[in-house]
Amino acid sequence: MSWLSEWIPNVVELADEFPAGIMQTLQMLLIPGAISFVLGVIFGVTLIVTRKGGIMENRIIFFLLDKLVNLFRSIPFIILMTLLVGVTRFLTGTSIGVAGALPSLVVGTTPFFSRQIESALAEVDQGVIEASQAMGLSPMQIIVRVYLRESIPGIARATTITLISLVGLTAIAGAIGAGGLGDMAIRYGYHRNMYDVTYVVVIIILVMITLIQTIGDVIVKKTSH
């Protein structure tokens, strides 16, 4: 163990804080990830079916949702967090810690996720949709049995990309008081010049991202024909 203390002294010193940091990051990743996934699928599907020529064409709904997604995508995440402080307090009772970061992470991720899902669903051949209509399927059946089912590989790809970008957002959230690995890297690595903490945090995040990407790739491979 002595060589560890030599190479990464601060990490050894702070070893107790790492499990908590990892847990917080995972919470910030999985809870908003799951919520954004559900919302992203709902919004992505809505965008696809209400667009011009869609199976439930509706100009007003499409226009509103489309612009709303653009609006929230154009706000930098760090500013979004400050904008949402009031909402966050109302929803979670706090604006700091993991709970305080959840609403902004959901709002920051969902528009991106929705666009990703939208483009995954847009890959479904229009002819297949038409064939399903000709077979007498209802719009809801077409959404579930054709759009979602046919684009499982695309949705898996979208989820992988979104989760990876969410990892980045958790680090930003960490910087303004949400905790997690990003917070550790900033607090110790940056403010106190404990570079070894930053390196180890980077390695842990790298492992997380590699895992997400690998699982995503496996799902895509298994479901593509």
Partner: protein, 343 residues
């Protein structure tokens, strides 16, 4: 089985209105194979998509098996659509599903048990000769096989009508023939009314009982296929028919004064059209032997449409003018149409 009454479809765009289908009225009888032919942009695809209301006509009525399609609500329309199968140029199979799952797909809400569905799908796959491919994915199939799966899928709900939207246009000629044979078999064995649209006269010739020729959104000619082939009226019909033979070449040669169609003084270049019933007559030898008219054939073709031979002969007749006139009169008397191309 299907009746179109004054059906029109206009697509409105910002700049102009496109009249894709203009006042088309057709009656398609039960058990028929009905063809609609036209060049691309003639409106035939819009027309066939109006039948199951994938395209809602701007005006007119569509009656399928007694139901007035435009008056149905969404739920009733979906129910009727289950009884109208449809196949497409690009097959439109689901990539994420196997051949078996694709064919079973329309049976999801049919109330059949798993075993019944499996039995039905197997029967359908036997019909289209693809049982051994049941676990393959569409990406592993050839174009012809994909269209066979699409046909099996279209037949899953025991439809009364099968709509074929350019179903063979993406296939090579040999595969086209095998798909057409399958459609004919489906028509004869299951008694399903088939409506198909195509831009290939060869397809029409192969399986259709009746044909409508479309140009610029309108049906310019309609009728029994043998009559249409024997006596085409509209120019576009003649053009389509000439695509299936080299007859048009002869006319080109005449126009370009090709040595093959050159005639000397006293000779006539005539086009003889045989209809059903007189292709077997020994017409030319009779002219030569009994009427002292020399005949030399420069082009001959016999089309067999539904076991009815339709012949075309381009012949140079030579001899005394009165004899030639006699010979022409004799041919006409025997029910052969004679067109004098040059004399």
């Amino acid at each position: 089985m299907i009746e179109l009454r004054h059906v029109s479809k206009t697509f409105e765009t910002k700049k102009l209105n496109v009249h894709a289908v203009k006042d088309v009225s057709l009656h398609i009888a039960s058990g028929e194979i009905y063809g609609v032919i036209g060049f691309s942009g003639a409106g035939k695809s819009t027309l066939i998509r109006c039948i199951n209301l994938l395209e809602r006509p701007t005006s007119g009525e569509i009656i399928v098996d007694g139901s007035n399609m435009c008056k149905l609500n969404d739920k009733e329309l979906r129910k009727i659509r289950k009884k109208i199968g449809m196949i497409f140029q690009h097959f439109n199979l689901m990539r994420s599903r196997t051949v078996f799952q694709n064919v079973a797909f329309p049976l999801k809400d049919s109330g059949l048990s798993k075993q019944e569905i499996a039995a039905k799908v197997t029967d359908l796959l036997k019909l289209v000769d693809l049982v051994e491919k049941k676990d393959a994915y569409p990406s592993e199939l050839s174009g012809g096989q994909k269209q066979r799966v699409a046909i099996a899928r279209a037949l899953a709900n025991d439809p009364k009508v099968l709509l074929c939207d350019e179903a063979t246009s993406a296939l090579d000629p040999q595969t086209t023939r095998s798909i057409l044979r399958l459609l004919k078999e489906v028509n004869q064995r299951l008694g399903i009314t088939i409506v198909l649209i195509t831009h290939e006269m060869a397809v029409i010739k192969e399986i259709c009982n009746r044909v409508a020729v479309m140009e610029d959104g309108e049906v310019v000619e309609e009728g029994n296929i043998i009559d249409i082939f024997a006596h085409p009226k509209a120019q576009v019909t003649k053009n389509f028919i000439s695509t299936t033979s080299s007859l048009s070449k002869i006319y080109e040669m005449v126009e370009n004064n090709s040595p093959i169609t050159q005639i000397s003084k006293g000779q006539w270049l005539v086009h003889l059209k045989y209809g059903a019933g007189n292709t077997k007559e020994a017409l030319l030898s009779h002219m030569t032997r009994e009427m002292q008219v020399d005949t030399s054939i420069i082009y001959g073709n016999v089309e067999v449409i539904h076991d009815t031979p339709l012949g075309d002969l381009v012949v140079i007749l030579g001899g005394k003018e009165s004899d030639i006139k006699n010979a022409v009169a004799y041919a006409k008397a025997n029910g052969v149409e004679v067109e004098v191309i040059a004399s």
